[in-house]
């Protein structure tokens, strides 16, 4: 039983990482968000990664958390089934 579980988790993980969304694999082309030249000629404009890159990144972080959230909700339901049992006095 446990072996099956662990197997499933491994397959899940590898699937997750084969989704081409990891920060290692996405080409990051930078967009200039705010341009400005400082004194002393120091480069001080800041740049953020492109929108597409950030959407991918978002999925990369949020997807596993979302699944964890669903699992937690399932667990809470499972526990709540017994909440109003009379087996426990308040």
């Amino acid at each position: 039983m446990y072996a099956k579980m662990i197997f499933t988790i491994f397959v899940g993980t590898s699937l997750l990482f084969s989704l081409d969304t990891g920060p290692n694999t996405v080409v990051c082309d930078l967009v200039v968000m705010q341009v400005q030249a400082g004194q002393n000629n120091i480069e001080t404009k800041i740049e953020f990664p492109s929108f597409e890159y950030r959407i991918n990144l978002l999925l990369y972080f949020v997807f596993p958390v979302l699944i964890l959230l669903i699992l937690l909700i399932l667990k809470i339901r499972q526990l709540d089934l017994h909440l109003d049992d009379d087996s426990r006095t308040n």
């Binding site: 039983m1 920060p23 699944i67 499972q78």
Partner: protein
């Protein structure tokens, strides 16, 4: 029994998945904390020729690394990465002995940078050197 088992499994899945969830976060922290790679080769004039007369040495810094410039008694100029190949102490040129010496564990290199005695396992890496209008120009990779 049935019920108990099902609970256990859900717990296990949740713990397992919590582990999986931590991977992207931990890998981000790892990437963030990994120091940037050293920049590519740097070439710069580090000293004038006058400052390193025959049978002398001088340590200069280039791209955050110590570089030992020496001029042999015959007037030949060389540049080495000054970190000892044993455990990285900065070496110096010894006029009397006409060699390169590391005080940490007493390694001695000859003026070609070859390790002669002491624990140093390898010769000092020699750096390309050029003379431009009385300036010594060195390149580190």
């Amino acid at each position: 029994m049935e019920k108990n088992n099902r609970r256990k499994i859900l717990n296990l899945i949740i713990w397992g998945w919590a582990g999986v969830t931590s991977i992207p976060f931990l890998s981000t922290v790892f990437r963030f904390t990994s120091p940037p790679k050293r920049e590519g080769p740097i070439t710069a004039a580090v000293s004038t020729t006058e400052e390193v007369p025959p049978n002398s040495g001088k340590t200069v810094s280039l791209g955050n690394r110590p570089v030992l410039l020496i001029t042999t008694p015959e007037g030949e100029r060389r540049a080495f990465l000054a970190n000892c190949t044993h455990l990285g102490c900065v070496v110096r040129y010894r006029e009397e002995e006409n060699d390169i010496y590391c005080a940490c564990h007493h390694s001695v290199f000859d003026i070609e940078g070859k390790n002669m005695s002491g624990p140093a396992p390898r010769p000092l890496p020699q750096l390309p050197i050029e003379i431009e209008n009385d300036n010594i120009v060195v390149t580190v990779s």
